[in-house]
Symmetry: C2
């Protein structure tokens, strides 16, 4: 079982690493980080780079495809080399997955048309505009397509996938070994729970960014 | 405000990245990944390397020190260059922090003597044996020393720290933007909650590993 994690400039590092840390512990699985070119790929905070060990061309048929999100999503959606690789990999994958705005890249490749999927809460409208039934759920399964909400939700997605692939007991062992017993000191992790003015502020900012992109 | 994340061979990637993803969003902070040498440092699953941009010598006085854990903890505890850097950095740091078995490295540097601290649940006894009051809590503050339990707990630690440094509102914004609204499909993330036979099996395995290390 080969797991390919796609890297591209300006991805959100925890999108990739949260899911990888748990899913990579799948017994018998080999994980490979892939990008257009091998070498360091810098995340959106710019202070951390992850190393891609293989090019896209070297990993044409992974069993599991994992696409992180981040500000680099928008250039990635317009990158024909990335989209072509996703279509080819998806043609033979067992699972095609994403975290955060990674689902926008899958949608841009034409893989989520008419499917139920999720995304970072700030990008659900854009996901819907791509012909996808965008839900606000944290993890969405639609056939072999598995999408997760923002950033940290990749951890929950990985546990779900581990359970489906290797059984509940294996997933529970991985949860125990990664001590995933969340105890956040605040309860502000979704737009339904966060202070209303904070949510409104970020929605406004996202709207302005989208408009700026369209007129640039 | 400078945040230094220590990397060493065989660290657990999510230990570093979970805390980094949230804490790195601290307004005005600059994060730098440091290691004995610059370049890729491979994590414990071997399939992923993070890039250290600076050597230890280049970052002698960070405001926040963050030490991840992992299987590489034990060699790191015996590495005088790493221990000397930690002592020097700690002498002027505002916060000295760890995730998972990273607290064993802080203890090996003599920084946790008599202090309350936490660790991955499988290594609490070893932490206590180093003269530390080892608690099983998820995040422990003792003065400027902040330690977190296993792997994923660095995310909770980062939120606590963000609140202390920048206030509750900033921490809530970061929680919302990283959509940290955990919904694990199982409730097996601590030894109190996981199936008893799973916990017993891993305790036995850890005991055997410790004995093998002592006789090797």
């Amino acid at each position: 079982m080969q797991i390919a994690v796609l890297l591209y400039d300006d991805f959100t590092v925890l999108d990739a690493v949260g899911a990888y840390e748990l899913l990579g512990r799948l017994p018998g699985a080999e994980t490979v980080f892939v990008a257009k070119e091998t070498g360091p790929v810098r995340g959106d905070q710019r202070s951390l780079a992850l190393v891609a060990d293989k090019t896209l061309a070297e990993v044409p048929h992974p069993d599991i495809v994992l696409v992180p999100g981040g500000p680099g999503t928008w250039p990635a959606m317009a990158d024909e080399e990335i989209l072509a690789w996703l279509r080819e990999a998806d043609a033979t994958s067992t699972w095609t997955t994403s975290v955060c705005t990674g689902s926008l890249v899958l949608a841009a490749a034409g893989l989520l048309k008419g499917r139920r999927a999720t995304c970072h809460w700030l990008s659900l409208e854009e996901l819907a505009a791509k012909g996808t039934e965008a839900t606000g759920e944290r993890v969405v399964f639609d056939g072999k397509y598995v999408t997760a909400a923002g950033v940290s939700s990749g951890i929950d997605m990985a546990l779900h996938l581990l359970g489906r692939i290797a059984g509940d007991r294996t997933a529970q062992i991985v949860q125990l070994l990664t001590e995933y017993d969340p105890q956040p000191p605040y309860d502000a992790g979704s737009p339904e729970k966060a202070p209303a003015e904070v949510v409104a502020y970020w929605r406004e900012l996202a709207q302005q960014s989208a408009e700026a992109l369209q007129t640039s």
